[in-house]
């Protein structure tokens, strides 16, 4: 089934300051939307709005013609959001971090093989029983991205996922993005780095919607 995710007339404000207005976007299954723009041009805020964490000051977001903010729990089921903050507890081991996330998001279904696999993809298996505070910042980012594997979400919202990643990590991420789009998923990503993926990529320049 083809999914369509789009927003119309969006106004993005932060701290009372208007960052972008009359912003439109439209993306369908199998595609990737790249958010581009200067620092502070509202990319992260826009991603939070798309995730349903924030409300747009005006405008609406739709999933298959249904207003997203009307039924947020349903929207939360279909998204995985990886933000700036990694949401990783430094006192829990890597496995515990992922396991908790898995349990709270998809229930107690035992898919520990999936968990092992997600650690393996990002080359974290050897440190899986270490507390997360022992990780470097790049590894922490990888652990946050490993969560993408654990939930069958159709919409991925990634805020600067490439920051701090090494070449191997970046390659793993690109493989994940390719597979996700190939299986009919949607990726929306804010990034300053060049990410070469095989799926069709649309670019949204947030600078173009600056006020005035």
């Amino acid at each position: 089934m083809k999914n369509l995710f789009f927003g119309t007339n969006l106004k993005v404000t932060k701290g009372g300051r208007c960052l972008a207005k009359d912003l439109e976007f439209k993306i369908e299954s199998g595609n990737m939307l790249l958010l581009n723009g200067e620092n502070g041009s509202g990319k992260s805020t826009l991603l939070r709005i798309m995730a349903g964490l924030s409300n747009p000051t005006s405008g609406k977001i739709y999933w298959n013609n249904k207003f997203v903010h009307d039924n947020l729990p349903e929207h939360f089921e279909r998204i995985t959001y990886v933000g700036h903050s990694t949401a990783i507890k430094s006192n829990l081991t890597l496995k515990e971090n992922l396991k908790y996330w898995q349990e709270i998001h998809i229930g107690g279904k035992d898919i520990s093989s999936q968990l092992e696999h997600s650690l393996e993809i990002f080359n974290l298996t050897t440190s899986s029983d270490l507390p997360a505070r022992c990780l470097s910042s790049g590894q922490t980012r990888k652990l946050a991205l490993a969560r993408l594997m654990l939930k069958p979400a159709s919409l991925w919202l990634l805020d600067e996922p490439t920051v701090g990643l090494d070449t191997a990590g970046l390659r793993s991420l690109i493989t994940l993005l390719n597979n996700h789009c190939e299986s009919g998923g949607i990726v929306i990503m804010a990034s300053h780095d060049e990410v070469r993926v095989e799926c069709p990529v649309h670019v949204l320049k947030t600078d173009n919607f600056k006020k005035g």
Binding site: S54, P73, I79, S85, S90, N91, L92, Y100, I104, G107
Partner: protein, 221 residues
């Protein structure tokens, strides 16, 4: 239910790995109570009269020490966003966090309070009432504190601020608990005060998670 247990287990693991926070509360409680006989003199009858009040006031103050941390670390590292982004109700997540707060601060205080009551020469008949009021009152503090903890997130003087917000709200708990303890010491019926404490616990277990969750949603907006 399984998700709720997973949440509680994770929070308990975090407290266990960072056990200082819980110990500090307990030791503060013990030390604060111990200061009273030293400050007001060792007269057994005076201490007996004041014992209920002393224990309860110290319990309230020590509970304030750890309340501001209930959501702070989750707010700082982005876990709070992820908690909101589950289809699992945030209200239940908040309830779980308040429960863990009670289990790691209120419950130890409850356990040690009879020992401190002995030190303050509390009337033997009042021990049961002390434990009952603690059992009903301390969870209410954790629940109401959850609202305060959500309100002060991200502010600089969060520890002090939360006391200013929450302490006035929990005055009824103090009044009814101490009234019940004093009454049972004199052999008077305590059921009305105890029922009111129970009512407060039930009301706050319904409304506090809801209010705190609304505050958290608003805060991340």
């Amino acid at each position: 239910m399984k998700k709720f247990l997973a949440l509680v287990q994770r929070d308990l693991t975090l407290v266990y790995r960072n056990a200082n926070d819980a110990w500090v509360v307990l030791f503060f409680f013990v030390i604060a109570v111990t200061l009273f006989p030293l400050g007001i003199g060792p007269d057994p009858s005076v201490l007996q009269q004041l014992s209920g009040g002393i224990i309860w006031i110290c319990a309230l103050l020590s509970a304030m020490l750890s309340l501001d941390g209930v959501f702070q670390s989750d707010f700082d590292d982005g876990s709070l966003d992820q908690m909101i982004l589950t289809s699992y109700p945030l209200e239940l997540i908040v309830l779980g966090k308040c429960f863990v707060h009670w289990l790691t601060t209120g419950f130890p205080i409850l356990l040690i309070s009879p020992v401190l009551a002995t030190m303050l020469n509390m009337n033997l008949d009042a021990y049961t009432t002390l434990l009952i009021t603690m059992l009903l009152g301390t969870p209410t503090i954790s629940l109401m504190g959850g609202i305060g903890a959500a309100l002060v997130l991200g502010s600089r003087l969060s520890g002090v601020l939360i006391s200013l917000i929450i302490l006035p709200l929990i005055i009824p708990i103090l009044i009814f608990s101490v009234a019940a303890i004093n009454a049972s010491g004199e052999g008077i019926d305590t059921s009305s005060a105890v029922s009111l404490l129970g009512a407060l616990l039930i009301i706050s277990s319904v409304f506090c998670p809801w209010t705190a969750a609304a505050t958290l949603r608003h805060l991340t907006n």
